[in-house]
């Protein structure tokens, strides 16, 4: 059919839609280079990436859940609670553990299992019990954080097995292992959502659940899987953060969820589901990371930084609104 011969411009446009933040990143790099000579050095940029590695995993998890049309606030609590519980299972009572004395090599599998279990429980309440995702995960945010505070009695865990410290602190081929891991997972996420049926079915579910069901997609199974994956990624983020800091504080991960949502949304992921890409979410994380780094380098008081973060989020939203053209939802 002759009418179908000129489709290329449309594709290019659609691809650019994910990348509306790229100019913002470029501007940040240029402005940063002028403001501070250290900013544009490989060492500093590596530093930015390492700092953002663990929160980026949370953004990845949240983007997957948002694209599927759901919501998860409890991820940030999992970041602290999953590694804390896993560590307490293996370390002796003298180091703040339960005193069960399980092998230290199992700490990461334990941690991921705890994260997956939290995701599965969220999924159970939201999908099988059909409760509102917002309220369920708000309650779980509080409960899961409480499940860290209770056993640890609010204390920081210092004596950690080497296995949990490794991933967050090792350097592979000149870059921190955490950056490699986050990069690999984002690559997997980008490919999975673009080239695999399960990824496409998440867009279908988020876009129109009834239509997805009518097309034979096992909606409940996919959603449950997404929640479990989200919890697991949050636990992995906890592992990386623990390794980076060398200890598990009682407020590890607390307050992250706002930044996570901000990164996902300015990266073009719709809160209504069915829209956005993992690549877009990644650009969102990078913008926030660069701003954070720039503020620290310029010595902006930590007390004033929230104002700047909030302002940046609003400006990024305006830019993507103008670039995207449509009203945001």
């Amino acid at each position: 059919m002759t009418t179908l011969t000129a489709p290329t411009p449309r594709v290019r446009l659609a691809r650019f839609r994910d990348l509306t933040l790229v100019p913002v990143i470029v501007i940040l790099l240029v402005v940063g280079a002028f403001l501070d000579p250290i900013f544009l050095t490989p060492g500093n940029l590596t530093n930015v990436l390492q700092q953002q590695a663990s929160i980026s995993l949370l953004v990845l998890a949240e983007a997957l859940i948002l694209i599927s049309g759901k919501f998860d606030l409890s991820l940030e609590s999992t970041v602290g609670m999953a590694p804390a519980i896993a560590v307490m299972l293996v370390v002796p009572a003298s180091a703040g553990g339960f005193g069960i004395g399980l092998p230290g090599a199992l700490v990461i599998p334990f941690c991921l299992l705890v994260g997956a279990a939290i995701g599965a429980f969220n999924g159970f309440l939201i999908i099988k019990f059909q409760l509102s995702a917002f309220i369920v995960t708000l309650a779980m945010l509080i409960i899961v954080h409480g499940l860290q505070l209770g056993p640890t009695e609010g204390k920081t865990l210092f004596q950690l097995p080497d296995s949990i410290l490794y991933l967050g602190s090792a350097v592979w081929l000149g870059l921190p292992a955490a950056v490699w891991i986050a990069g690999a997972l984002f690559a997997a996420g980008i490919a999975g959502l673009a080239y695999f049926r399960v990824g496409r079915s998440m867009y279908a579910i988020g876009g129109n659940t009834d239509a997805a069901r009518a097309a034979g997609i096992r909606v409940d199974r996919v959603l449950w899987g997404v929640f479990i994956l989200g919890g697991t990624l949050a636990a992995l983020a906890g592992v990386l953060e623990t390794g980076r800091l060398g200890a598990i504080g009682s407020n590890q991960g607390v307050g992250w969820i706002f930044m996570v949502f901000a990164a996902a949304v300015i990266g073009g992921v719709s809160m209504d589901g069915g829209k956005g890409t993992i690549l877009g979410a990644l650009t969102g994380v990078l913008v926030i990371g660069l701003v954070q780094n720039l503020l620290t380098l310029k010595g902006v008081s930590g007390f004033w930084q929230p104002v700047v973060y909030g302002g940046i989020i609003l400006i990024a939203l305006m830019i993507s609104r103008i670039a995207g053209g449509k009203a945001q939802d």
């Binding site: 059919m1 179908l4 594709v11 279908a204 876009g207 239509a211 997805a212 034979g216």
Partner: protein, 495 residues
């Protein structure tokens, strides 16, 4: 094998409600079979049973004489029956190609987008759907999306299609194109079940008709030679009366102009339109989907802002694009899409109906529930709204009754000007009469009304009809037109 599709003695209950009570349908191979009935007759339930979305509590469903597949076996269902649902099952954020191959983009392994697009182009070419495989479906028009759904449905290899009110959102020429397509499919031997509120369409496109009423099967007849009256009385269960032919009333418009627009223009929609409506007059606005009639009406009520020109309600020049100012000047309106702009589904009938007069129901910003209730009860009675009471949420009402609530809201403040846009879309015969009657009663009380409709029968109540063509009013047709005349002007055949 006598029947291509057969449902026998199907019973389906939802809690205490019986949606289907021993109903059935039998469709011969290659025929286009209409299923008609009033809202709530059980048509949609039968559709979801015939498409395998729900299982019947009793009775059986046969395809070509064989029992229907298990509910979980979606592929088997899709090879037997395809359905274009009332609600769109197109996902707007995805491309045409992906919607066509939703959940079957690939067998195993990664998706090859290039191949997927090629396959999509093949399907689109086979079914002669002229859209770009890479376009986002959200950017397509209603008609194109529907064609896409039909193409997708057929691409599974089903020889039986259910079309559930496919014309509800299409304009005249698009409906003709759809019918041409349906005829072509029938020539290829495709069996169809066609659901519509428009009996004319049933006579035009179908060979036989089945009537459902109150969850039961009433009759099945060949369409040819079946009198229109009998079909309507089978649907309503009232033999002898002829509810379909609405008798519009004669009246003499007074001299006072209550609603007027002067030199209104909106880029790409309409140009230089003058319209004036007198008290005691119903003015129709007719035209095809692209004529700009709906946009013009929306401009009159303030939902849209014209690029130039003025709107005057009851002698007051209203601020352009400002609904509250139009309402204050004495305007009432029924918007095009009741679900979208017409009512708040979770709020009660009483609250929905009294939103515009909330300030009159109490002092200092309070709203007196007792007065609201009293007012609502009066509206419920006047408009014959079938509801459990003023407290029932509008979302629970049937389409026709929900529309009556929208009417109640438009009429609650005794407007001197009334603008009604497609009031009878998706409502049954009886509700349609009540709604048109409400317009006429308001006009008898001294209002002037603008009625925009795609239904020629609705326009019969108008004292004159302004026909629009490509954004211009091309003709002012007085009462007494024939369908043929009006359609000819709407299609721009005669100037």
């Amino acid at each position: 094998m006598k029947y291509h599709v057969e449902a026998r003695n199907v019973v389906k209950r939802f809690g205490p409600t019986v949606a289907l009570d021993g109903a059935g349908i039998a469709i011969a191979p290659g025929e286009t079979h209409a299923l008609v009935g009033r809202n709530g007759a059980g048509k949609s339930t039968l559709v979801s049973i015939l498409t395998g979305l729900q299982r019947q509590d009793e009775g059986e469903v046969l395809f070509a004489g064989e029992a229907a597949p298990a509910l979980a076996d979606r592929d088997a269902w899709r090879q037997r029956v395809a359905c274009v649902y009332q609600k769109s099952t197109i996902i707007p954020a995805l491309t045409v190609a992906e919607n066509l191959f939703l959940n079957r983009q690939t067998g195993r392994g990664p998706i090859n987008w290039r191949r997927l697009r090629a396959r999509a182009r093949e399907v689109l070419a086979t079914y002669e759907v002229d859209v770009d495989a890479e376009a986002l479906t959200g950017d397509l028009g209603v008609e194109q999306r529907q064609l896409l759904e039909i193409a997708r449905a057929l691409s599974f290899g089903a020889r039986f299609i259910i079309l559930d009110e496919p014309t509800a959102r299409l304009d005249g020429p698009a409906i003709d194109r759809l019918f041409a397509r349906m005829r072509a499919l029938r020539e290829q031997g495709v069996t169809m079940m066609y659901i519509s509120h428009h009996l004319d369409e049933v006579y035009e496109i179908c060979q036989s008709v089945t009537v459902f009423r109150d969850a039961r099967h009433v009759l099945t007849r060949p369409v040819a030679g079946f009198p229109h009256d009998e079909l309507v009385s089978a649907m309503t269960g009232e033999a002898g009366r002829r509810p379909a032919a609405y008798e519009s009333r004669a009246r003499t418009p007074a001299g006072r102009v209550v609603l007027s627009g002067a030199r209104l223009s909106l880029a790409g929609r309409y140009r230089d339109v003058d319209i004036s409506v007198r008290s005691g007059e119903v003015v129709g606005l007719a035209g095809s989907g692209s004529s700009g009639k709906v946009r013009l009406a929306e401009t009159l009520v303030g939902l849209r802002r014209a690029d130039s020109g003025t709107v005057t309600v009851n002698g007051t020049r209203v601020r352009p694009g400002d609904v509250p100012s139009a309402l204050r000047a004495g305007l009432g309106f029924v918007p095009e899409d009741r679900h979208h702009e017409g009512f708040v589904p979770l709020l009660s009938v009483a609250e929905n109906a009294t939103i515009p007069i909330a300030h009159k129901l109490g002092r200092f910003g309070t709203v007196s529930p007792a007065r609201r209730r009293a007012r609502a009860l009066r509206m419920i009675e006047d408009l014959h709204i079938k509801t459990e009471g003023p407290e029932q949420p509008v979302g629970d009402l049937s389409g026709g009754n929900a529309q009556k609530v929208v009417f109640a809201r438009a009429l609650v403040d005794d407007p001197s000007a009334l603008v009604v846009i497609n009031p009878t879309a998706g409502v049954d015969v009886r509700a349609r009469q009540a709604l048109l009657g409400a317009v006429e009663e308001a006009v008898e009380r001294g209002a002037g009304a603008v009625l925009v409709s795609d239904e020629l029968d609705d326009l019969r109540i108008c004292d004159r009809v302004l026909v629009m063509f490509h954004g211009r009013v091309v003709r002012d047709v007085p009462r007494g037109w024939t369908d043929h005349e009006l359609v000819a002007v709407m299609e721009g055949i005669r100037q």
